[in-house]
């Protein structure tokens, strides 16, 4: 006995919906990869910056193996900073991200703060090369403040999310 046509039509519709819904609900794979890569790079920068900070607290900082390579990492990553936030890579992508919609609402301010952070990162790398401990300490604080200047308005508060992943 052949199935009634409307049953076939109904089943086909449900099948299409069930296949399509995950695509509709989830972010495009490109966005997801982009956000993941952005988080990885920012984490790399955070890790490199922390390594410098830890070194600065020691009596005999290791310039060659710790400070210089990490200062380089911070600078090289920071130079791409502003390319990591294309339109659509905010929370509207459906991917878990700390990035706030304000980034794309106030692009001029965001860019200005991003460029300021790049300048501080470049300066950090330059001072690291000069091996001036006091100057590097001051510059690490300046860079930290540049990070905070963007995190405070454009990153959702740390305690609001379960974790950094």
């Amino acid at each position: 006995m052949p199935l009634p046509t409307r049953w076939i039509a109904f089943s086909a519709t449900m099948l299409c919906l069930s296949l399509a819904s995950p695509i509709v609900l989830q972010a495009a794979p490109g966005d997801s990869a982009l956000i993941k890569s952005r988080q990885d790079k920012l984490r790399d920068m955070g890790g490199a910056f922390k390594a410098i900070d830890d070194e600065l607290k020691k009596r005999n900082p290791d310039w060659e193996n710790a400070i210089l390579p990490n200062a380089q990492t911070v600078q090289s990553r920071s130079s791409y900073l502003l390319t990591w936030f294309p339109k659509g890579s905010g929370p509207e992508s459906g991917v878990k991200t700390y990035a706030l919609p304000a980034i794309w609402q106030k692009p001029d301010d965001f860019t200005k703060i991003g460029k300021a952070a790049q300048a501080e990162a470049a300066k950090l790398n330059q001072i690291a090369a000069s091996k001036d401990l006091a100057a590097l300490k001051a510059q690490a604080t300046a860079l930290g403040k540049a990070c905070k200047a963007c995190h405070d308005p454009y990153r959702s508060p740390d305690y609001e999310k379960e974790n950094d992943e």
Binding site: R43, G46, G47, F49, K50, A51, D53, D54, K57, K58, R59, A140, T141, L143, G144, K145, C147, K148, H151, D152, R155, P157, D158, Y159, K161, E162, N163, D164
Partner: protein
């Protein structure tokens, strides 16, 4: 009613010594500053208020061993039987005052101090995402571990808020249901009601407090500074 009993009902008995009261309210203030500065990402103040909390808790632990009688753990921390017996009498509206912490309150004290210590302890290793004001011991963990600990720090603080909420609810319960005012004695040190002479507060000398304050300060200082220079 004998003159002695009458006297017993109207007198205000000294139950908490000044150091215990001051430490209690300092903890309220410092935890409040920690909360505010944490929420607003004012981490420089957060570090200092966190150290202040640690100092108070360490001093309170010390005072719990060598301080005045009602502050000593040995005098108020009780076994399971005493706790259960007390819990069974909790529904009675007219129950005698305990001169100091009752057996259930003792659990609350340990829970409070333990939770505060856990929040501070985790915070010492937490990493600030801006790299400005990470915990003083964050050099011992990786960036990733330190970030995980920062989030654990927030979770533990929410546990602390629950413990604080329970504490405040208990104080309201004692006031509304049993007619025992616990707030006034924590401010003035004195409470109304009857008291057994054997329970009278034995105050510890001030020099002992000074020694404890110095020891606690030395420990906090060591945690924040010294460990990097070994």
């Amino acid at each position: 009613m004998s003159a002695h009993e009458k006297n017993n009902k109207t007198r205000r008995w000294l139950v908490w010594d000044a150091p215990t009261r001051v430490m209690h309210w300092l903890l309220v203030v410092f935890v409040g500053v920690c909360w505010w500065s944490g929420i607003n990402n004012e981490l420089e103040y957060h570090l200092y208020s966190g150290y202040a909390v640690l100092w108070v808790v360490l001093l309170r632990l010390y005072w719990g061993v060598v301080g005045s009688s009602t502050a000593r753990f040995a005098n108020f921390v009780r076994g399971p039987k005493a706790i259960l017996d007390y819990a069974r009498s909790l529904h009675r509206r007219r129950s005698p005052h305990t001169h100091g912490h009752n057996p259930l309150g003792a659990i609350s004290v340990l829970l409070m101090l333990g939770t505060v210590l856990a929040v501070v302890g985790i915070g010492l290793f937490a990493v600030d995402v801006d790299g400005l004001y990470s915990g003083p011991l964050s050099g011992f963990v990786s960036f990733r571990q330190g970030r995980h600990l920062a989030h654990l720090h927030y979770t533990m603080f929410n546990v602390l808020l629950a413990v604080i909420g329970l504490h405040v609810l208990a104080v309201i319960f004692y006031y509304a249901y049993k007619g025992h005012d616990l707030v006034f004695p924590m401010i003035t040190g004195r409470r109304k009601g009857e008291m057994e002479p054997i329970d009278a507060l034995q105050t510890a000398p001030a020099w002992r407090l000074a020694v404890g304050a110095l020891i606690a300060a030395a420990i906090v200082w060591a945690i924040t500074k010294v460990f990097y220079y070994w």
